[in-house]
Amino acid sequence: MFDRRLLTYFDWGLVGAILGMTVLGVLTIYSANALATSAFRQTLYLRQLTWVCVGVGILFLACTVSYRNLGRFAYVIFGLSLLSLLVVLVLGKTGLGAQRWIRVGPFTVQPSEFTKIALILFLARYFDDHREELHRPQVMILPAAATLVCAFLVLKQPDLGTALLIVFLAVGVMLLLGLSWRYLVPILVGGGVLTPLLWHFLKDYQRRRILVFFNPDLDPLGASYHIAQSKIAVGSGGAFGKGWMAASQSQLNFLPMNHTDFLFAVLAEQWGFLGTLLVLLVYVYLITRGLQIAMESTDFFATLLAAGVSSMLAIQVFINVAMVLGMLPVVGIPLPLLSYGGSSMVVTMLGLGLLLNIHMRRFMY
């Protein structure tokens, strides 16, 4: 199955950018938590390092077998991911309150992360199967329903950020397929009408975060405190930053979640505008590279897969950074490759591995 000639087409530039980002992530997590009192926090960077190693393993593993084989199991994978979401819901019911994780041996797995990639696979396979009928609007019904079911299950966990991401992701793929604005506008209007309904499903703290975004004075200690402290951290970085390990704002516990969702603020404080510019450019490189790979491939399934993975990255980066900069409500989406977290790391690496995979085999099909 594995052909040595494939190595010739291996995109080492992409791999370099990926590795660079993960190393930056570990360093940032280390510096952000070095002064923490909890021993658990102090050793977070070691855990993240482990996840990077696992992630790199998955990156390469995802290239070994042709993506076509993955496509064959797309529906099964999607079904399993729906099942695992249901399992979380059931376990969450008995496990008190919000539960997004399933315990598998010593690890906790967050199935909503894996749903993203399963949905991309599903959409790519489905549209590939129906590529002769794409002009018929009915074709869009099943994918739309599947997306909403996923989003609903994730929302129930409750994980508003990932649920939104799933919807945006599917809309992105459909737009690429030429879903005309004529259809999209009614959908958006329908969505607008359904928003109050959605509101009903949100947990109290999620509602509060959204309200606070529009009126920060509502909660000076909670969400608006996060946003305010995050903006101070980012702004105080200035043009060139305060340097590694010297970022008082994010180190001294003023910034909550500094290793996960607000990691970008730590980066911004340490490296300033120069650093954030570079990080964003690397992301733009990764995403546009993914879109290029999508364009180069002659296989429709591969094109959709690559475009889907790129959209996932793009949406995640944009929402996370915009949230840190106080442009969007705090919804809890990790920054790919940089934020602490095993599930997020594995899923991102899986997606990027698929890009490499498609790129390597672009002349085979």
């Binding site: 076509r68 909660d219 000076p220 200690l221 702004g235 200035g238 954030t276 733009v284």
Partner: protein
């Protein structure tokens, strides 16, 4: 591999759209960069000043924990205000004088107070805790001498209070400060040192609901950490109230009847699994933990050989003794090895080969049928019945009634009990013998059960064969009155026994109370069905020499027979005869549940067949 596809692309517009997507990415990046430019370059200096020139500090304001109430809303666990004494070292003008005054009030040596104040020198603007939970007289003294005590102040804080001390303590659990080992674990990463959390029982299992959300004060501090002004304050949000299935009246009666004994009483609604009362003794006073527990007290509780922290109803296991005869009888009726008419002559002993197995009654019971054997708890009958039924069938029925598995109350570790696992005799190893079966048939030897398992078992007999999951929390209600969680009865499985078998068992168990070994549980006006048990702890005869190794006394029962509303299991460790010691305790529980008897005579409600207390 999937079949090869014909070459693409049918969708000419796709590359164009992908190009547009790239354009979108560029625009998105530009938006973020503009914002970053604004924050970091244009506003950078302002934010830098904000971050460098000291800023806002957050100070937590502890949220009061939710109450725990019984099924009718009687408060079992609440909070009371407590006053902590703090010093701000910087504001103390003459440390020696203040120390002397304080020492007098706190009744300690002045040097001790001075030493503590000196510890605060390093951070003179940080409040320094001097003493937690001042008693009333000290508080008054501090208030009176306020002028002599500059820099000393009192802070109020809610603290957990268990008004009735050890009542149901093993069920309710206790709260204490998060400990060092917990702080190292991932699940406690958001806890601050010194924060309180539930450590056992309902307090622990439902901690997420009970704890509420801490509020905070946003304080602007100057460069040296001194609070300049209160910028903002968010009130803490109290935790949710937990409504238990416990009925306070029944609980109190059980506690009173059990005074001075060791063991457990559990009562449950056999048709739903709602726990109505749970007593476990010896117990402890959870109030001790709510304040910082002294090392001495902790040593006393943790080192107590009676294990007061153990919830004996679910965490302890004992040989079931004669209660297990119920299982043997059911197994016999189901397999056909026994019929209600099967008769045995009991002369007081049973010989298996050369081994003699005694009955508890010298001289024997005479000729008995199955009902008579249950009513009189005849060992000789069941020795032979066990052999006829066979150990495999006995084990199968035991499992069907939930023995050998945790009963599923869900408040932490639960004892599984133990059932025989008969292995054929192998060379060099003692295998399962007929003698083992004989011993198991009266609930000794390798049969071990927890009181909760037996409660589920008799409940299944009472309700016609359904094993319900026992549960103790009915509702979780937020402070605003919203029902956050509501727990419904959960039928775990059917025991799969013929209805007529269970009808026979109920009749026989009624006979136990009406005319047999359980007659001391009789309550006028209520038909109770039960079974006594006396589980041997040491070899026969040995207990006479060591009175603390007397037999365990059991009584498992339910009432009323034809419309069961409550099932009660009593276990008195080293209590002696079940009928003598355990049955009267069950009687007190039934009197409370049905409002009958001298203690409840003033209640106008007639000896009801459908007591309202048990809805």
């Amino acid at each position: 591999m999937r079949s090869r596809r014909s070459p693409l692309p049918p969708l000419q517009a796709l590359p164009l759209r992908l190009k547009r997507a790239m354009f979108c990415v560029a625009v998105g990046c530009l938006i973020l960069l503009l914002r970053l430019w604004y924050l970091q370059i244009l506003e950078g200096d302002r934010y830098f000043t904000l971050s460098a020139n000291n800023r806002l500090r957050l100070r937590a304001v502890e949220a009061p924990r939710g109450f725990i109430l019984d099924r009718h809303g009687d408060i079992l666990v609440e909070n009371r205000p407590t006053f902590d004494l703090y010093a701000i070292p910087e504001d103390i003008t003459s440390p020696a004088e203040v120390a002397a005054t304080l020492a007098e009030i706190l009744r300690v040596a002045p040097s001790e107070v001075e030493a503590r104040l000196a510890e605060g020198k390093a951070r003179p603007y940080q409040p320094l805790l001097l003493r937690k939970d001042l008693d009333a007289s000290m508080m008054v003294a501090v208030e009176e001498r306020r002028l002599d005590l500059p820099g000393i102040n009192l802070r109020v804080r809610p603290i957990r209070a268990y008004p009735s001390g050890g009542t149901a303590a093993n069920l309710l659990g206790y709260v204490s400060e998060v400990n060092q080992t917990q702080l190292l674990r991932e699940e406690y990463r958001d806890f601050r040192a010194g924060e309180y959390l539930g450590q056992s029982g309902v307090e622990r299992r439902f901690d997420a609901f009970i704890r509420g959300v801490d509020g905070g004060e946003q304080v602007e501090v100057d460069a040296r950490g001194r609070a300049l002004r209160l910028v903002n304050r968010t009130e803490p949000r109290s935790g949710a109230n937990i409504y238990l299935t416990i009925d306070r009246k029944i609980q109190d009666a059980a506690e009173a009847a059990f005074a001075g004994k060791k063991g457990t009483v559990v009562a449950m609604n056999p048709t739903t699994g709602e726990i109505l009362a749970l007593v476990s003794r010896p117990s402890y006073d959870p109030n001790l933990f709510a304040q910082r527990i002294s090392g001495e007290d902790w040593q006393r509780i943790a080192g107590d050989p009676g294990h007061p922290l153990q919830n004996r109803a679910v965490q302890a296991q004992y040989p079931p003794g004669s209660i297990f005869k119920l299982i043997v009888a059911i197994a016999g009726l189901e397999s056909g090895a026994l019929t209600p008419e099967s008769k045995v002559y009991c002369n007081g002993a049973f010989h298996l080969g050369s081994v003699k197995f005694d009955d508890w009654k010298k001289g024997g019971h005479g000729t008995l049928d199955l009902r008579g054997a249950i009513v009189n708890s005849c060992n000789v009958y069941f020795y032979q019945a066990g052999l006829k039924v066979g150990i495999d069938e006995i084990v199968r029925v035991s499992k069907a009634f939930g023995l050998g598995e945790p009963p599923g109350l869900g408040l932490g570790d639960e004892a599984k009990g133990h059932l025989p696992n008969p292995q054929p005799r192998k060379r060099g190893q003692p295998g399962w013998s007929a003698g083992n079966t004989v011993v198991s048939s009266i609930g000794q030897g390798l049969v071990v059960t927890s009181p909760m398992q037996l409660l589920s078992m008799v409940s299944a007999i009472a309700n016609g064969g359904t094993l319900y999951r026992p549960f103790v929390v009915k509702r979780v209600v937020s402070l605003a009155g919203d029902v956050l969680e509501e727990y419904e009865p959960e039928a775990m499985h059917q025991v799969g026994v013929k209805p007529e078998t269970l009808v026979f068992m109920r009749q026989a168990m009624m006979g136990v109370v009406q005319e047999g070994t359980g007659s001391r549980s009789k309550v006028p006006g209520v038909l109770i069905a039960g079974k006594t048990g006396t589980a041997q702890v040491v070899k026969k005869g040995e207990e006479k020499r060591q009175p603390d190794l007397k037999d365990h006394a059991w009584f498992a029962s339910f009432a009323p027979v034809d419309n069961p509303r409550i099932a009660v299991v009593v276990l008195v460790e080293n209590g002696g005869f079940g009928g003598l010691v355990a049955a009267p305790i069950a009687k007190a529980v039934y009197e409370a549940a049905f409002g009958i008897g001298p203690r409840y005579a003033q209640t106008p409600s007639p000896p009801a067949k459908e007591p309202e207390v048990l809805d």
